[in-house]
Symmetry: C2
Subunit: 328 residues, 2 copies
């Protein structure tokens, strides 16, 4: 029997879940829920209804896992604790500082109603969190390093767009190769913010705007840019759309630590991602964890869990015996 999947929100993530569910034989997309007029939302899978999100509760017995594809700023803090009252739910909530609060809200509502929620599933938080957890447990006393990119940071691009005279902008976060090499080399460096990443900005100016003013506003912006080496390129809107509309991203998590009688042996554990499409990869992770969530819910677990609570075998449709034979 297939795992019946529902999608809430049909943007980049919602579409990604749709593709990922289609790539897994044991998944069946049964409905897409939207805040827009359902008539205006065209999805790819033939025969799957698009439903007004207000009518979602009527689907509570027809969906095994509801995958929430809203944003972390305003959608998920409301939606996840609300939907877990009727469904087993999974989200990609990625505001690290607010994870404990979000967890508590989903946990309480899930326990009260007998459902299971899984939050912060994706690659960071998500797979990068796993890499940190495994690395910390295996090499106690070691050092963690996380590098992001090369990829577009939505938050930094938005910050540039708020500057007077800027029409459009994209900001790439770029890991510094020399810093990565030093970590890989076992040098266990102490790295400042500036030494880990550079920021590269592609900016479209409004008619008559002053490039020197905009460049200075960017480079001196507190928190976002002032602690980084930042490069600013002024380009046309056409060039921005043509060359900087991609959704590629990636990054590196490294754990470096020492063992032995005199701590004389160094070890490096490295996990990295190189992604052509950030939202499609994030949703591929979500869909694999939806399978695990379904299994954990069937076992009677309620409340809230994260990727740290999930046995790896639960992500797979294969039996334990098959996995031991083919992958162990």
């Amino acid at each position: 029997m297939s795992i019946r999947i529902g999608i809430v929100g049909y943007g980049n993530l919602g579409r990604g879940v749709e593709y990922a569910a289609a790539a897994n034989d044991d998944m069946e997309l049964v409905a897409v829920f939207t805040r827009r007029d359902p008539q205006t939302v065209k999805i790819h899978t033939p025969g799957v209804p698009v439903v007004n999100v207000k009518d979602a509760a009527a689907w509570k017995d027809k969906i095994d896992v509801m995958i929430l594809c809203g944003g972390s700023a305003t959608d998920l803090p409301v939606q996840t604790p609300q939907f877990v009252r009727d469904f087993n739910v999974i989200d990609s909530f990625d505001t690290h500082a607010h994870i404990p609060d979000h967890f508590a809200a989903v946990d309480a509502a899930g326990k009260e109603t007998g459902h299971l929620g899984m939050i912060s599933v994706g690659w960071d938080p998500g797979l990068f969190s796993l890499a940190r957890a495994y690395g910390n447990a295996i090499l106690p006393g070691g050092k963690d390093y996380t590098f992001w990119g090369k990829g577009v940071s939505q938050g930094h691009s938005d910050a540039i767009r708020r500057i007077k005279g800027v029409k459009n902008a994209k900001q790439y976060t770029v890991p510094v190769e020399a810093a990565l090499a030093s970590v890989r080399n076992g040098e266990n460096p102490d790295l400042t913010t500036r030494q880990k990443h550079t920021r590269e900005c592609f900016v479209v100016l409004e008619e008559g705007a002053d490039p020197a003013y905009v460049e200075n506003e960017i480079k001196t912006m507190p928190n976002y840019f002032d602690e980084y080496d930042t490069t600013v390129h002024f380009i046309s809107e056409e060039e921005l759309l043509k060359n900087h509309s991609g959704l590629a991203h990636g990054g590196f998590v490294l754990r470096s630590g020492k063992t032995g009688e005199n701590k004389q042996h160094n070890h490096i554990i490295e996990f990295s991602l190189k992604l052509d499409s950030n939202p499609e990869f994030t949703t591929s992770v979500l869909v694999a964890y939806a399978r695990a969530l379904n299994r954990m819910a069937k076992e009677g677990r309620t409340g809230c869990v994260t990727v740290l609570d999930v046995p790896p075998a639960y992500l797979s449709a294969k039996s334990g015996e098959e996995l031991r034979r083919s992958l162990l």
Copy 2:
């Protein structure tokens, strides 16, 4: 209360467990068991008894997890199913083809006696198995690549030492950089055995042996060398001991797969290790999983499990709340 650890077998792995247990505040080494005369075995930790392995059963209520540090060829197939009758046990059994049989033997004995065993814990099998499991679940339809090295292969070194005229030898398995680069580049290559690894041999000849004969015997040896590009260096025993006694190793697991409506986006998940000491890293993994094993056993689980069955959070001494706040 500390987790009380016992070690069976005091070679490179046993010593590694001793160091790793000392590096974890919640672990206490309570005894080392040996087949040798206990008087002749000197361990590093003051006050910890060395006991004849025949007397191990007397310690059944004093040890939470027994870590088995024997070899996979002849020790563990006997020891693990035997020790799980009295203890919760963990081993690093690494003969991939025999894992299903080993699992079945430990599972049956553990279920019968109410203990839990965990097998094949280390880096391959172990962390590399995890990387393969996560990668396969997240990118279905993708391709797996595993590269080993640079590091000494004990099996290949032994094979060379069996050749007539060879006094001593070390064999390094070396991943081919160009093949790794092609995978990282998203080219999804089909790689032959020869294209993935080269083999580099350092050989000490016996007095009067014929180097041409030995070199030919090595390079044409079925399974071990004939499918690889192999380099043979003849060196002195002094040079071998001085420059080739290290236990460094490592490797790479990559998963490459496509997503999207037309599978137009490629993604690379890469996990790699660069280890100064293969046995010390392996035992660092064993000790972290001993913590998880202790917790799963306390929850009432019996029989046999592998790393694929263990929630990542169980490897850590930190609470779920702490992990969510600091690592997620």
